[in-house]
């Protein structure tokens, strides 16, 4: 059980799976920069947030629902949670773009389900991801493997935050899409890039 003060944000899980350094930059160093991708994501969410709860037949659709889990030390918001009349609770997370290769979206959605299970004291077997670019829902089953992965990532993020150390940068192709590229400086802050060598190169290697 975690203290409320030590809760991490749900979004941190996804950041961690994308890149542990990105996660530390955002959640430990509190740095944020917007680029096209984050702006699109924000607008998509704002749109989802702006609409009110509504009932569609046998389903009550609740938007921007605050959720948390003391067991996992998590807090955040669920974009959309459907409450069906038969008792089923079904979270839906909105994503810009298309399905990713990694499991970060699934983990984030599963974490929402774990929060809801703890708060509502019931089982949530499945949810869905809605991808803006494809305008399509992808149903996700919360199987034991996904639950295990989600809990494991939660622990890793807690360790990262409480350790108060940002991992070293590793330059990768995916860095190009990261809005924190300029904050991170993955090419400047690797272990190979030494300042003393730079000084020698600039001062000794004279014309």
């Amino acid at each position: 059980m975690y203290h409320e003060a030590d809760y991490i944000m749900l979004s941190a899980l996804q950041h961690y799976l994308f890149c542990p350094r990105q996660c530390a930059l955002i959640h430990l160093e509190q740095q944020w920069a917007e680029n096209r991708f984050t702006a699109e994501g924000r607008i998509l969410h704002e749109r989802a947030d702006s609409s009110k709860n509504e009932r569609k037949g046998s389903v009550l659709i609740v938007r921007t629902l605050p959720i948390s889990s003391a067991r996992l030390g998590l807090a955040g918001q669920a974009d959309v949670v459907e409450f069906h009349d038969d008792g089923t609770v079904f979270p839906v997370e909105y994503k810009r773009g298309r399905p990713k290769k990694d499991h970060s979206d699934e983990v984030q959605l599963c974490a929402q389900a774990l929060c809801l299970e703890e708060m509502l004291q019931l089982d949530i077997p499945a949810g869905a991801l809605f991808y803006g670019q494809k305008k399509r829902r992808k149903e996700i089953a919360f199987d034991p493997a996904l639950r295990q992965l989600t809990e494991q990532v939660c622990r890793a993020v807690h360790e990262l935050i409480s350790g108060q150390r940002t991992p070293a940068a590793v330059f990768d192709q995916k860095c190009e899409q990261c809005s924190l590229l300029q904050v991170c400086m993955p090419k400047g802050c690797t272990e190979q890039r030494s300042v003393s060598r730079y000084l020698i190169r600039m001062l000794e290697g004279e014309r």
Binding site: Q30, C189, S196, Y198, E206
Partner: protein, 343 residues
């Protein structure tokens, strides 16, 4: 890459700035003269009697747009600050190192190193470009002095001696500065640095451009979450942004001095654009101030390869890159702070 954002300089006396939706509107005599989206700005600098609505100020604070107020002549008066941003862990580390002479010395020598090496580049370029017109011997001698000191700084770890080197090399450099002015010699004479008040046209230009640079380094430091008031080379003094002054050092020759020299040498500023007051203080007129601001903005839009990051960035982003590198060093991501070295 972070977007290269603009600075809006407002020099029209009596102008009124307010917010309309997401834009800033500049009004003169109740007439809308200019409308700009706030998100395209990194800062607003108001000179003299310029008014800003509180809603615009709040909106700027929310969007990381720095707003500063200067006197008509460019002396800094005040700035508007939103909620404290950035990271407490970073600021604590900054304070811890500033409290320690050894750690301060490590950073101070890098700032001074940047200044000395870049000052040397200025002299060297002067020697190369107009060595025939200028008394080359003194220049050459000063170049060698500065080269000697920049190498000596690499071994220096005593704060007082670093400050000593800084003072000495500044003298050596400014002793030669006059010989870099190759046209309009009779109007633009430089016989040493003076600032309170500037007593010749060259000093008047230098002071003004330094004030612009001070504003830029301060915003850059605040953007990365550092406290601009707690420095390493410069000691704490209320009202002074010591870290902004520290970070400015490496940029003085490259951004400010070079700009002043080219404004004079290319004849962009004229003798009659300055007023010599009864006290001997020299002021520039509105026209000249505008010329300097436009030239400064233009310089910031040029691209340059960052020598350490080895990436092309606009000159105006250099101060941000250096502030970022400084914070990465304080967070132990780098083995030392790499000053911006221009060649």
């Amino acid at each position: 890459m972070r977007k290269m954002l603009n600075t809006l300089y407002v020099t029209t006396q009596g102008a009124y700035l307010h917010k309309e939706g997401e834009t800033v509107v500049v009004q003169v005599d109740k007439e809308n003269k200019l409308r700009l989206p706030v998100i395209t700005l990194s800062s607003i600098v108001c000179f003299g009697n310029v008014l800003c609505s509180p809603f615009l100020l709040g909106h700027c604070a929310e969007n990381d747009v720095a707003v500063s107020f200067m006197t008509e002549y460019g002396r800094f008066l005040a700035r508007v600050q939103g909620p404290v941003s950035g990271n407490v862990l970073l600021r604590r580390e900054q304070y811890r190192r500033a409290d320690c002479d050894r750690s301060s010395a490590e950073l101070a020598r890098m700032f001074v190193l940047g200044k000395v090496a870049n000052a040397r580049t200025i002299l060297q370029r002067g020697l190369r470009d107009h060595g025939a017109k200028a008394p080359a011997e003194g220049l050459d001698q000063a170049c060698r002095q500065l080269a000697h000191y920049s190498k000596r700084l690499l071994q220096e770890d005593d704060l007082e001696s670093i400050r000593g080197v800084e003072g000495r090399t500044a003298r050596d450099y400014f002793d030669q500065f006059d010989s870099l002015i190759v046209t309009r010699k009779q109007d633009f004479v430089f016989s040493g640095r003076n600032r309170r008040p500037p007593r010749d046209r060259v000093n008047c230009l230098l002071s003004f451009v330094y004030a612009l640079l001070y504003h830029d380094t301060r915003s850059a430091l605040e953007t990365v979450g550092l406290d601009p008031a707690v420095g390493f080379l410069h000691r704490d003094r209320p009202g002074r942004l010591s870290l902004a002054l520290d970070l400015m050092e490496e940029f003085r020759p490259f951004l400010a001095d070079r700009l002043v020299l080219s404004l004079i040498n290319l004849g962009q500023v004229k003798n009659k654009g300055f007023e010599v007051t009864a006290s001997g203080a020299v002021r520039m007129d509105d026209e000249t101030r505008k010329t300097v601001l436009v030239a400064y903005q233009k310089r910031k839009q040029e691209e340059i390869e960052h020598p350490f990051l080895q990436e092309k960035i606009p000159v105006g982003m250099l101060v941000f890159a250096q502030a970022q590198l400084l914070s990465r060093y304080l967070r132990s991501d780098l083995d030392a702070y790499p000053p911006f070295l221009w060649r």
